[in-house]
């Protein structure tokens, strides 16, 4: 197991958020506080509508919280930061750009132009993702799983220090999902990036995480931070072990209590 360092990378303190649906205010997120440590993977699970996506969007600086404060690497955090990578629920590639052009988009935006070295790095990243022959294809020519790998390549190429993932594999079939889970584990081990991932799959959460955060029904409240003390590197055989089963059951019952 990776041992989390003791200085938190990201601190959330008392963050809350409400919306109005036109007539009455809806509280989406009750004040929530937690810390993320360098190099750890945390999965966020909870019933639908518990404000998981809202929390992630707040952490990404895309929407402001109503209350509370956040710190990223010791500094107050309240706007999008390029050291924080975002993988959204839906594959968000630009259909008019080739795969390579899509992967290079962040560099284009941040530096104005792409150097040959950066282009090579992008090509190498695509190659490690098994997308070498698809650089000049367009997203619509690729399957959902391949496109989500392109998104992952685009995000990782920026070398983010924190990766926020909102059900990144939610729309994929079970097999592709497992494969991408393993790839994510491998890449995370190589790059050492801190990950916070929202998921609906308890299996996925336990397989990936150092800790599993359980949110309650709306308005969301953090009801548990379950540690997952399973050895790394992990693979799919882990899922059938009794230890894995015990943790999964524990998480499931925590979600059950909320309903």
């Amino acid at each position: 197991m990776t041992t989390p360092s003791q200085t938190p990378v990201f601190v959330v303190e008392g963050v809350a958020k409400g919306f109005t649906d036109g007539y009455r205010p809806i509280q989406a997120l009750r004040p929530i506080s937690f810390e993320l440590y360098a190099g750890e993977i945390v999965c966020l699970v909870g019933p639908s509508g518990s404000g998981k996506s809202t929390l992630l969007r707040i952490m990404g600086g895309l929407i402001p919280p109503d209350a509370g404060a956040m710190w990223f690497e010791g500094r107050p955090h309240n706007a999008p930061n390029t050291a924080i990578g975002f993988v959204f629920q839906k594959t968000n590639l630009m259909p008019w750009r080739t795969i390579l052009q899509n992967v290079l988009l962040p560099i284009e935006i941040q530096q104005g132009k792409v150097s040959p070295v950066q282009r090579e790095r992008a090509e190498a990243m695509l190659a490690t993702m098994g997308l070498k022959d698809f650089e000049h294809a367009y997203p619509r020519q690729l399957s959902g799983g391949m496109n989500q790998r392109v998104v992952l390549a685009r995000t990782l190429l920026q070398q983010p220090r924190l990766l926020l993932m909102d059900e990144p594999f939610g729309q994929l079939d079970a097999l592709t999902r497992e494969r991408l889970n393993l790839e994510l584990l491998r890449l995370q081990a190589a790059e050492g990036v801190t990950i916070l991932m929202v998921t609906h799959s308890i299996t996925e959460a336990v397989l990936l995480s150092d800790r599993v955060f359980v949110l309650s029904e709306r308005p969301g409240r953090l009801i548990a931070q379950t540690p997952v003390p399973l050895p790394r590197p992990r693979d799919l055989t882990l899922i059938s072990t009794p230890d894995f089963g015990a943790i999964a059951t524990q998480v499931r019952s925590l979600i059950g209590e909320t309903g």
Partner: protein, 275 residues
């Protein structure tokens, strides 16, 4: 484990190639069909004139129209009239489209603004252009300005609506992506909004391009001393029907050319849609 996908991809490419070959043949046939239709229509027209023996001021024969065309082309006057109408069309398109883009972008981005403006836009569009054109001629005179104004007015609306719809259809997830990348306003426009809206904008552009010819002619019919619309009017006054035919056919050619330019531009800019 990606071999299967690669193979699949190659297979698709091959199938596509076979498809292109067949599509090429079909396209070849299509390219033959279009001129064939034109030739048969002209032949039918010639036969009709011979059979029925219409006087030229009712229906001139194709040969007569062609002679008239050569005559008018020879003294250079025809070129002048074409030039005047083309200038009106191009200036009108430039003004109409640039205001449509600017306003469409603004209204596409700001919903409240769009809600306030839309009843007026719809109302203004429900007035037929032929009803306003005389007014514009009174205000702006019978020179170039009034024709450009009518053309601008008629080309404005389709592109305006297409731009509003196009800008509003931009995927909100891509907006989030651009924000998370801290893209500037300018980058947001060039790298996201414009390419995303372009397919819809082109729909409006095609309509505007065709309507621009209508605008210039309507303007000229209200009072002018040059242009193809003026020739139509002049031909009517002189009972010179062949002249009217020459002018009308040239207007068709201009409209076709404009449509071709827009379609070529679209094919080049949106080739990703057909991969």
């Amino acid at each position: 484990m990606f071999d299967a996908q690669k193979a699949n991809f190659t297979l698709r490419a091959e199938r596509k190639q076979a498809g292109t070959w067949r599509a090429g043949l079909a396209q070849y046939r299509m390219q033959l069909a279009t001129p064939l239709v034109l030739v048969s229509v002209i032949a039918l027209w010639a036969l009709l004139v011979t059979w029925q023996g219409y006087p030229p001021f009712i229906l001139p024969s194709p040969a007569l129209v062609w002679q008239k065309f050569l005559l008018m082309a020879a003294d250079g006057s025809l070129l002048l009239h074409i030039g005047v109408t083309l200038l009106e069309i191009l200036l009108g398109l430039f003004i109409g489209l640039s205001t449509a883009f600017a306003l469409g972008y603004l209204l596409g981005r700001h919903h409240t603004l769009e809600r306030i403006a839309s009843p007026y836009i719809v109302a203004s569009q429900s007035i037929p252009i032929v009803a306003i054109a005389p007014l514009i001629v009174i205000w702006m005179g019978s020179g170039l300005a009034s024709k450009v104004a009518v053309t601008a007015l008629i080309t404005f609306f389709p592109t305006l609506v297409a731009t509003i719809v196009g800008i509003r259809s931009v995927d909100p997830d891509l907006h989030d992506l651009m924000r998370s990348l801290r893209a500037s306003r300018w980058q947001l426009f060039w790298k996201l909004e414009l390419p995303a809206a372009l397919p819809i904008i082109f729909g409006g552009l095609k309509l505007s391009a065709t309507l621009s010819v209508v605008g210039a002619v309507v303007g000229e019919l209200m009072g002018a001393n040059a242009g193809l619309g003026y020739l139509v009017n002049l031909g009517r006054g002189l009972l010179d029907t062949p002249m009217m035919f020459v002018a009308i056919l040239l207007l068709v050619v201009i409209a076709q050319a404009l449509h071709f330019v827009v379609a070529t531009l679209e094919a080049r800019l949106l080739h990703w849609q057909r991969v």
